[in-house]
């Protein structure tokens, strides 16, 4: 497909992308009494439990721990949820892809975007924690969408790779749950980078999600602008991942239908 065709395609299927996102949001909380409120309650309750565990039992000494925690946790759970959902998206919509022509990338992309919308509701939980902990609000906080966009692009890239691979090998689904577990522990969500030994620290610093979370925390928690190196790393890692996702998906999508 040439560039112009893709753009035209994108325009024709924008309504579908929108409908799919709306569908995901509707189905997610259908038949639950509290509905969308769960997107707010869930991170708050998780944060409360983790704060108790890690500040009472393990005694991490991080100032304003609840806020530190919920920032990391919100971003991580977006990444975790969106890539997992995206991984199944092509498989689940197999019956549709067999009957109607639809650009296939629309499924992983719509999944990641609907998780992104859910995460936006969860941001309200961060605001609540900000108020409850009486944290001063810095002007840098208004830049908060920047790290989120980096994370979004990165997640779309990962989601596209996973959704394409899982069509060919169902093993990917099982493998990825182990990978995300390791990945989570390599991301300073509930601990700080300083407490880890130097050799592990190098590993963590290669983890793009660590940088997105740090970027976000610096803006909200410490009122600092990240160093130029962080900007560059975030920009490069998200772009490279997105490009890799598109490339892998493009190459593999041609024969999807034979495996669905």
């Amino acid at each position: 497909m040439n560039g112009l065709g893709t753009v035209k395609n994108l325009k024709t299927y924008m309504p579908l992308l929108r409908e799919l996102i709306v569908r995901d949001l509707k189905v997610k909380y259908r038949r639950s009494v509290l509905g969308y409120l769960w997107s707010l309650l869930n991170p708050l309750l998780m944060m409360a439990i983790l704060t108790m565990v890690f500040s009472q039992v393990f005694r991490f000494d991080i100032p304003n721990y609840p806020l530190y925690l919920i920032c990391g946790q919100t971003l991580w759970s977006f990444f975790n949820e969106s890539t997992n959902q995206a991984m199944y998206s092509v498989l689940y919509n197999g019956s549709l892809l067999k009957k109607v022509y639809i650009p296939k990338y629309i499924f992983p992309v719509s999944r990641v975007l609907s998780s992104f919308v859910t995460m936006s509701f969860s941001l309200l939980a961060i605001v609540i924690v900000l108020i409850l902990t009486r944290t001063p609000v810095y002007w840098t906080a208004i830049l908060f969408p920047i790290p989120l966009v980096f994370l979004l692009l990165f997640s779309i890239g990962v989601g596209m790779v996973l959704s394409a691979l899982s069509v060919y090998f169902r093993d990917v689904v099982h493998l990825y749950s182990v990978i995300t577990l390791a990945w989570m522990y390599l991301t300073p969500i509930f601990y700080s980078l300083e407490i880890v030994p130097a050799n592990v620290r190098v590993l963590i610093q290669c983890n793009p999600i660590y940088h997105y979370i740090t970027f976000f925390r610096q803006l909200i928690l410490y009122g600092q602008l990240p160093a130029a190196g962080t900007w560059l790393f975030c920009l490069l890692s998200s772009m490279v991942m997105l490009a890799a996702g598109i490339a892998v998906f493009r190459k593999l999508q041609r024969n999807f239908i034979l495996y669905l």
Partner: protein, 245 residues
């Protein structure tokens, strides 16, 4: 030069039966080592060529498993030919399986927008045609019921109503008129005849000879993926009957 609406040029559709069963990485490598990855090939469609001009209606006939639906899916853009080319000029309304784009957890109202979007219509367009769809499908009372509670006939009715709201250049129809009661079949039939009169190109798969002869002027006969004959519908049927009997 005359522009054909549909041009199928020496198209093959090859499935790899062995490959289809390779679901895990371990199996994949085992088969790779044994050299069995491309072992049992199966041609669903083999070296088929024909053209359809604008406004023509063509039937695909043949026994079960002769490749009719596969060919239709290749024209719809769902399957890519393994060799040869399939060129289509114009917009397609696929009536291959009605309601393929429905989410059964959602209500009919929500599904009308979703399915419309699958066919490339935006929200404003669907708002404008919402009433028309509901009336044609005769589902006024059940609009806010989740579609998992619908009967198959109701699902098909809604699918047909949505797929035919716009006058597409090409209509691909696969055995769908068998569903629904007599009265609804009549309605579908009427709407299709009207679309044909307006210059829509039709590609029709059916085992109902009377229906085929009524709607189509030309026919393509497939047997085991190969094209046996093409031309005037009556002549092709004659040859087909002679071969089958």
């Amino acid at each position: 030069m005359m522009q054909h609406t549909i041009e199928v040029n020496h198209a093959d559709m090859r499935f790899n039966l062995a490959e289809e069963k390779t679901d895990t990485i371990k199996e994949y490598f085992v088969k790779l080592l044994k050299g069995k990855l491309h072992f049992s090939e199966f041609y669903a469609v083999r070296d088929v060529s024909f053209t359809v001009q604008r406004g023509e209606s063509v039937a695909l006939i043949g026994r079960n498993g002769s490749g009719k639906s596969t060919l239709l899916k290749m024209i719809a853009g769902v399957l890519y030919p393994s060799r040869g080319t399939v060129t289509v000029r114009g917009s397609i309304a696929p009536l291959i399986e009605l309601g393929a784009g429905f989410d059964m957890e959602l209500t009919a109202r929500e599904n009308i927008y979703l399915n419309g979007a699958v066919l490339g219509h935006d929200r404003d367009f669907m708002n404008a045609h919402f009433q028309e769809v509901v009336e044609f499908a005769e589902l006024q009372e059940f609009l806010d019921v989740p579609m998992k509670n619908y009967s198959s006939g109701m699902v098909a009715r809604l699918g047909f109503a949505i797929a035919t709201i716009v006058r597409a250049d090409i209509l691909l129809v696969d055995e769908i008129l068998a569903v629904g009661d007599y009265k609804f079949q009549q309605k579908c039939h009427e709407r299709m005849s009207r679309l044909l009169a307006d210059g829509t190109t039709l590609l029709f798969v059916s085992h109902n000879e009377d229906q085929v002869k009524e709607l189509c002027g030309k026919a393509v006969w497939l047997d085991h993926g190969r094209m046996m004959a093409t031309g005037d519908v009556n002549e092709v049927y004659e040859a087909y009957h002679r071969a089958v009997d």
